[in-house]
Amino acid sequence: MSEMKYHNNFLREVEERVEEGHMVKMCMQCGVCSGSCPFGPHWAHPPQELFMMIRAGKREEVLSSDSMWMCTSCYQCIVRCPRKLPITHIMHGLAYLAKREGKVPKGQPTAQFGQMFWDNLTKTGRVNELKLSLSLYFKDGFGQGIKNAMAMQSVGLGLMKAGRLNPLEILGGHSIKDKSGFQAMLKKAREIEDTRRKLA
C-alpha cells in the first residue's frame, strides 16, 4: 500500500491486524507514556510518537523501526495513560506485525531472542533454560558463541553449584506429556488468528 500521508489507511490496518490496535485512535498525544518508559531514551520513536506516525500514515518508518522492540513490558505506561490505552500490548502487536511483514531491522537482538524463546517453549511445552541460553550465545555464529559462553562461565558454574542449572537439560529437559495436543492447539490458534488478522 502506497504511503498516503495523513490518511487513515495505515491506522485502519493497525486496527485490523495489531493486538489492541483499535485503541491507537484514542491517544490524545499527552506524552506521559514516552516520559514514563524506563528504556525511553533508547526508543527512536517513543510510543506516543509511533501513534502519531500511524495517524500520519508512515507505515514503512513504523514497521521497520526497532523502537517497539525496546519494550521491557514493565506496564508503567499503561497505568499512567489518561486514556487507558493498553500501550504495552499495542507495542507487542506492532512488533509481531513487523515480524510477520519481514520488516524487523536485521540482527535486532530482542526479536531474535523472542523467536528463540517461542521456538524453545513450543517444542516441549516448557522452556529449556539451558538450550535457550546456548541458542542466545551462539546466535551470531560458533566463534562468537564460545566467547559469550566463556564470558558467562563463572555465572554458569555458580548456578550449577546452586542447583539452578542442570547440564543434563541439554538432552531433553522438562516437558509436558500431551506435546502433540499442545502443538496442535497452537497451530490451530495461529490459523484462526492469521485469517482473522489477514497475517498469512
Binding site: 509481531y96 515480524k99 546452586a162 542442570n166 497452537l186
Partner: protein, 299 residues
C-alpha cells in the same frame, strides 16, 4: 495456622534445578509452615512470559494460559490457580480477563483447546502467592507465627514491575506499594524506608537481548539499596531475582562498582522466620550467599 488449598502453577523457572528452583523450594517450605496445600496443575505449560510476542501472535499466547486455566478447572476444581512468578501470574490473569470480556476470543480459544481435548470455562481465578498471603491469611496472622525474628538484617523491598502493575497488589499504589516493606517488618527484620527504586523495571527478558541497557537499570536498583544501607534485597519475582543477582559481576565490570549483595525471596524470609532450616529455605541456591539469613536459620 489456617489450612487452605490452592491449585499451583509453578512456571518454567520454578522446576527442579531450574533458575528459580530455590524459589520453589522455599515456597513449598513456607506453605507447609503456613498450612497451605498446593496442588500442582497437572501437565501445565509455559505461559509465554512477556517476550513470547517475538514468535507467537495474540491468540496463540492467550491459548497458552487458557490451557493452564482449563487444566486447573478440570483437575483442581473450585481452587484458585496461584502462581509465584510475576510473568506467569500476569499472563494467566490477562488471558483470563480477555477471554471473559470477549466472547469471540473465548470461542476461538476453545476451538484451539479442543485440539488438546480441553475447554476453558472461566471458573478459576488467577492469583499471585503474595495476594494469598495478604488477603487470605493477613499480615497480623503472618506475624503471629514468627518464631525466629530476622533481627539485625536490613532489606531493600524491591517489588519490581509486573507483580505490581497493571493489577496492583491489594489495591496498593503503583508508585509506592508498602506490602513488601510491611512483610519484612512483620518478619522482624528492618525495611529500607522510601527505597526510590522500589518499582523500577530490571529489564526483564531484555536483560538477555539488551544486556547493556538492562544493566544500567540493575545498577540503579543495587546502588540505591546500598545507599539506603540495606544488607540484602528481597523480591517477589524470579526474573528480578535472577537478573539482579546474576548480572552483579557484569555490572561491576562495566561500571567499576563492587556490588556483592544477596537477593532473596519473601518465601525464604518467611521460611527462616518460621524456624525453617537453611536447606528448607534453599539458602544454598544463591550466587551471593545470604549469610546473615543463614546464621539465623542455623541458630
Amino acid at each position: 495456622m489456617a489450612n487452605k488449598t490452592y491449585s499451583f502453577y509453578p512456571g518454567c523457572s520454578s522446576q527442579g534445578k531450574a533458575s528459580s528452583s530455590n524459589y520453589l523450594t522455599s515456597t513449598n517450605s513456607m506453605c507447609q509452615k503456613l498450612g497451605i496445600t498446593l496442588n500442582e496443575v497437572p501437565d501445565w505449560n509455559c505461559c509465554g512470559a512477556s517476550i513470547g510476542y517475538g514468535g507467537g501472535g495474540e491468540l496463540p499466547r492467550v491459548v497458552l494460559s487458557a490451557r493452564n486455566l482449563a487444566l486447573s478447572e478440570q483437575h483442581n476444581a473450585g481452587q484458585d490457580m496461584v502462581a509465584t512468578c510475576a510473568a506467569c501470574w500476569l499472563a494467566s490473569r490477562e488471558a483470563k480477563e480477555r477471554l471473559d470480556h470477549s466472547p469471540e476470543m473465548k470461542a476461538d480459544a476453545n476451538v484451539a483447546l479442543k485440539e488438546a481435548g480441553l475447554e476453558y470455562k472461566g471458573q478459576a481465578q488467577a492469583r499471585h502467592m503474595v495476594e494469598v498471603l495478604l488477603e487470605d491469611i493477613g499480615m497480623e496472622a503472618l506475624q503471629s507465627g514468627v518464631k525466629k525474628p530476622l533481627k539485625g538484617i536490613k532489606f531493600a523491598g524491591y517489588v519490581g514491575c509486573q507483580t505490581n502493575r497493571p493489577f496492583g497488589i491489594v489495591g496498593e499504589s503503583f508508585e509506592n506499594p508498602m506490602y513488601l516493606d510491611n512483610m519484612i517488618e512483620a518478619m522482624g527484620a528492618e525495611a529500607v524506608s522510601n527505597y526510590d527504586q522500589k518499582v523500577t523495571c530490571c529489564g526483564g527478558a531484555l536483560a538477555f537481548s539488551e544486556p547493556e541497557k538492562s544493566q544500567k537499570q540493575i545498577k540503579d536498583i543495587i546502588e540505591s539499596a546500598y545507599d539506603h544501607g540495606a544488607d540484602m534485597i528481597v523480591t517477589p519475582c524470579p526474573l528480578c531475582q535472577a537478573n539482579v543477582e546474576i548480572y552483579q559481576g557484569e555490572v561491576n565490570k562495566r561500571y567499576g562498582t563492587k556490588f556483592n549483595i544477596p537477593v532473596t525471596y519473601y518465601s525464604q524470609l518467611i521460611t527462616v522466620a518460621y524456624g525453617g532450616t537453611a536447606a528448607e529455605a534453599a539458602l544454598g541456591g544463591h550466587l551471593v550467599a545470604p549469610a546473615k539469613l543463614a546464621d539465623i536459620a542455623n541458630k
